[in-house]
C-alpha cells in the first residue's frame, strides 16, 4: 500500500493506517525537532504535539502529495511553540545586531562543534528552523517557504539572516559580549 492510500485511509479515521505513517516518519521528524530545539524532552513534546494535530486535522488535508511538507510544518511549528512556552518570562531580548563588527573571521578555519552549538542556540527559533530545513532536511528555499507557509522572499531573507546571525554569534563567541536579558545578569 503506498503513502497516498495510507493517507486516504487515515484521513477517514483508519488509525492503523495512521500508525504506519507515524512509523515511517517519526525518526526523521524527531531528528528535525531535536536539531531545532536542542533538547530531547522538548523535541519529544513537539513531535507528539505535531502528530496529535496531524491525526486530528488529517481529514482537512486536501492534497496527499503535500503530506510530508505538512508534517514538517506541524513539527516546526510545534518546536517553535515549545520554545516559546519554555521561554515565557524572563525573556531574552535579542537586541544584539545581526552582524556584529568583527576583527577576525571565525571561519578562516573549520569551526569546532562546540562553537557551532553555542552559536546555533543563540539564534531565534525561526532562524534555527530554516537552517535545519535547508541543511539537514535538504529543502530548497522555495520548499521551505512552501513548508512553513511564508513568502519566498521571507524564507530567503530568513535563511540569509540566520547564516549571518550564526556567523556573528560565532564571531563574538571568544569575547563575551554584553548581552541583555530580562532580569539576567549577563
Amino acid at each position: 500500500m503506498d503513502q497516498r492510500e495510507l493517507i486516504a485511509l487515515a484521513s477517514r479515521g483508519d488509525h492503523g493506517a495512521f500508525a504506519v505513517l507515524v512509523g515511517t516518519s517519526i525518526s526523521h521528524l524527531t531528528a528535525v525537532a531535536r536539531l531545532i530545539v536542542r533538547d530531547h524532552e522538548l523535541a519529544r513534546d513537539a513531535v507528539q504535539e505535531a502528530y496529535i494535530r496531524a491525526w486530528r486535522d488529517l481529514p482537512g488535508l486536501r492534497e496527499a502529495d503535500r503530506f510530508d511538507a505538512w508534517l514538517h510544518r506541524l513539527t516546526v511549528n510545534a518546536c517553535l511553540d515549545a520554545l516559546r512556552r519554555r521561554r515565557r518570562r524572563p525573556i531574552e531580548i535579542d537586541i544584539h545586531p545581526l552582524v556584529l563588527p568583527s576583527a577576525v573571521d571565525p571561519f578562516g578555519q573549520v569551526a569546532n562543534r562546540d562553537q557551532l552549538e553555542r552559536g546555533f542556540v543563540r539564534l531565534p527559533p525561526d532562524q534555527r528552523a530554516v537552517l535545519v530545513l535547508h541543511y539537514y532536511v535538504g529543502l530548497s528555499v522555495p520548499s521551505i517557504a512552501d513548508t512553513l507557509g511564508i513568502p519566498l522572499g521571507t524564507a530567503q531573507s530568513r535563511l540569509g539572516r540566520a547564516l549571518a546571525a550564526l556567523r556573528a554569534a560565532l564571531s563574538v563567541d571568544d569575547a563575551p559580549p554584553i548581552r541583555e536579558h530580562r532580569g539576567q545578569i549577563a
Binding site: D81, R89, I93, I95, F107, D126, Y136, P177, I178
Partner: protein, 416 residues
Amino acid sequence: MSTVEQLERDLAAWFGETAGRETPEFAEDILIETSGLPQRPRWTFVPPLPRPMDTPRLHVEVGSAARRLAILVVIAGLLALAAGAAWVASQPRLPAPFGPAANGLVAYAKDGDILLVDPATGERTSLVAGPEVDAHPRWSLDGTHVAFVRQTGSGSRLVIVDAAGAVQSVSGGEPLLEVDPDGISWSPDGRTVAVRAEFDGKGAIHLVDARSGQPTVLPISPWGLEPYWRPPDGRELLFVGGLVQQPALYLYSMEDGEIRPVPGTVSEPSGGFNVVRPIGWTADGSRFAYHRSAPTSLGVETAVVDVETGDETVLELGHGRISNDGSRIVGLASDGDRAWLCVAPVDGGACQPIDGSPDLVEPTRWASFAWAPDDSSIWSRPGESGPAVLLDPDGGEVEWPSWAADGVDSWQRRAQ
C-alpha cells in the same frame, strides 16, 4: 572555498552528526493518545456554503405574527430595562490606570490554557481553555480584560477576552511573529494594546485595537522594544529605538505620530552594542526610569530622569521594575560574585537588599519580578518556569504561597 561555504558545510555535517536517527521510544505513546482522539470532521475545513435562495418560508398568519412581535418587543423592553438597572447596580468601580490598586486575580498560562487564581482564597478557574496554545496573559490596567498570545500555524494572534473569558477581539492581518512577552502593554484607556513583534524581519511595535483587533505597525523600526505608555493619558509611547550600536529611548506621539529622542538617553557609539532599556514611568508621568550599560559589577546602572528638566538620579541596580506609586524600584544588584534583589527609592539612595533573594537569584542567575498592584509585595519567579515567590520590599520573610505554585504572569488591578 569561501567562508560562507565552509560554514554551510560545517553546519550540514554537524546536523548530520547530532541529529540521531533511532526510532524514538515514545512512538507507542503517540499512537495510544491519538487512538482515543476524534478527528475533526471534514466539513469543518471547508468554508460554509452560501445559503440557498429557495429556503422554504414559514407560513404564518400576519395577524398572529404582529401580535407575537408586539409581545416580544414589550418583553424585550422590560428585559432591557431590568438588565440596565442590574448592570448599573452591579457595575464595579474601576481602578485608575496608574498608581497603586487593590490586588485582584492572578492570571497565568499553563499547558496552553489561561487560568486565574484568587490569591485570597486559592481558588483557581479557567479563563480560556481548548486545543489552542495560549500564553502570556496580561490584564488591562482597569482589570476588566485580558490580552494573551495565541499560537497559530505561522505565528501568533493577540486575543482579547473579558474577565469571564468571552472573546472581544482577535488581532487581524498577518500573524504576529516572535511576540516578545515583555513587550505587551495595554494603553491607559484600554482601547489599544502595544505588542512588540517582528515586522518585515525586524523588531516593530504593533498597536492592536482592542475592540476590532485591527493592527497598525508603528514606523519606528528597527528596534522597537518594550513599549511603555506615558501616564496619565497614554498620549506618548516610550520605547527603545535607534541603531543597535547606539540605542536610545524615544517617545512616539499618539496624536501626531511624531517621534523624538529622549535627550540624554542616546548612548555613545560602541563597537559592540549598548544596553538601553526602559523600566517604567512614575504614576504622574513626570519621570521615567531606564537602565543602561555602565562599568559597574552588574554591567548596567539605572537612571531616573525628569522629562522636563532632564535631571537624572543614578541608582546602582539593573533590570528594575518601578512600584505602582512611583516611589521605589526593585531590581538586581551584584558585587561581581553574587547577585540579589534590592529596593531603592527613585529619588536616590542605597538599594536595600531583600533578605533571602540571593538564594533565589544565584542558582540560575535568572529572575523575573514585578510589584503587586498594592505595592505590598513583589512577586518573583526565580527560574524560567516554576513557582513564584512573594518578597517583602520592607524586609519580611520570603513566602512561597501555594496559589503561586504555577507561576504568575499578570496581576489584576482592582479599585481600592
